[in-house]
Symmetry: C2
Subunit: 257 residues, 2 copies
């Protein structure tokens, strides 16, 4: 296999349109990464994706410490549909939030929605940091998209706006009583292929929040097994089961909207 | 509900036998935790488990900064069978290894087996640290057991001894080519309820290791979806799918050996 057809050593998310022959100027941070951190040279190849045009091979036309220009060559993969599953989560300690964002991207989440609850420390969420983490994770796990990281919203507002903003999308909540229908059964029996999970903060939801959640017809309690999972474990386990049973891990091909 | 019948605020793993009326002296570290960190008082209740006798309510007879004695009262839960799934994993960076141990315990792993591979930095695994993390995670997630944390073993030795040490136990390996049968299908179609997963290091297995693994009849490649998962994500996702589909998350009751 020739050098130019080998898998590129670098993979970057860009905003620019990707078409054959296009010139793409990288923002300074990405130029710094390529030129200084990775010491990439002119002529090396880079995989590019923008969430719209698939994945393209590009060649480094010029790279210095502060600037880089790439020339788009050929398309390696077309854009393809992806499962549509949201994660609504109460921000945790910084390391745990970073991990949830990174792993949720690897697990194919389509939207990350921070939710402020009665027991959430609202100062804990840094949207820009989460977006940067999501881009890095998408680059590394070879996704063709970067999931949206929404601005934080208060739980009551999220729920009040749900029927309008997320029509037909069930909001699954982990049932801590252990009596919820196992998620694998719910996923296997689900008619639609769109979903959302809501995960509470470390101290759990307040009783009034649980009562409110359970009163809503789009909220569906699901079981995540007999052990007490930490919030971040519950978030990742829920996404994993959904993708494995209902999403794009299946041999029959992914189930999409 | 009376104070003494409420769920105890503390939960500890102990080595001692647990029977009604028994006196249990805590090791100094646990006494320090109860007396100094948590400022527990004489007369408060503690949940105890030892992996054999179920979970018991005990009362603090005496607690000081360096010593504590508990009196075992009544049994809250009998010992129950648990899924028998092992995780064989190449140690990662310290934080990632800590996370894998903690989350694997939450996800009900029965044995943690560190494995040294061609690309593993052997200095990275601290067995005592992992055992302490496993105990803490078991206490917090309300398991009735603490999984064994085995001493590290070289991959060739693990594989050579497998038929004798793990007869009938399939060793599932994540197929990075994306062509493995999806794990949820493998789990659903599995005849036995015992399993093991092996997860490589950050840089993946060496080609010679992969060739060796694939030549063994007890090694079964499985698919973990279309994205490239980090090692720690793959470990936790694999355990999650197994427990959700084949283990103790199911409504039909857990599948045991």
């Amino acid at each position: 296999m020739s050098e130019t057809l080998a898998r590129p050593r670098y993979r970057l998310f860009v905003e620019a349109d990707l078409t054959e022959g296009a010139a793409v100027d990288l923002p300074q941070a990405q130029a710094h990464y390529l030129g200084t951190v990775m010491r990439a040279k002119d002529g090396e190849t880079v995989a590019l994706f923008n969430g719209r045009d698939g994945e393209w091979r590009a060649e480094i036309a010029r790279v210095s410490k502060k600037a880089a220009t790439l020339t788009v060559a050929d398309r390696m993969r077309p854009q393809a549909p992806e499962p549509d599953v949201w994660l609504c989560f109460a921000p945790l300690k910084k390391d745990a939030t970073d991990m949830v964002v990174q792993k949720a991207v690897e697990l194919g989440v389509s939207r990350l929605q921070p939710v402020m609850t009665a027991r959430t420390n609202a100062s804990r969420f840094n949207t820009e940091r989460a977006r940067a983490n999501a881009i890095e994770a998408a680059e590394q796990c070879e996704r063709l998209t970067v999931p949206e990281v929404a601005e934080p919203v208060a739980l009551p507002d999220l729920l009040a706006g749900w029927p309008e903003r997320a029509p037909g999308r069930p909001l699954f909540i982990a049932d801590e009583t252990g009596r919820g229908t196992p998620l694998s059964d719910v996923a296997a029996g689900s008619e639609g292929a769109i979903a959302a999970f809501v995960i509470g903060p470390e101290g759990g939801f307040a009783q009034s929040e649980l009562d409110h959640l359970r009163s809503l017809d789009f909220v569906v309690p699901v079981g995540l097994g007999p052990r007490i999972l930490r919030a971040e474990t519950a978030a990742l386990a829920a996404l994993t089961v959904w993708q494995a049973v209902r999403g794009d891990w299946r041999s029959g091909g992914p189930a999409f909207r």
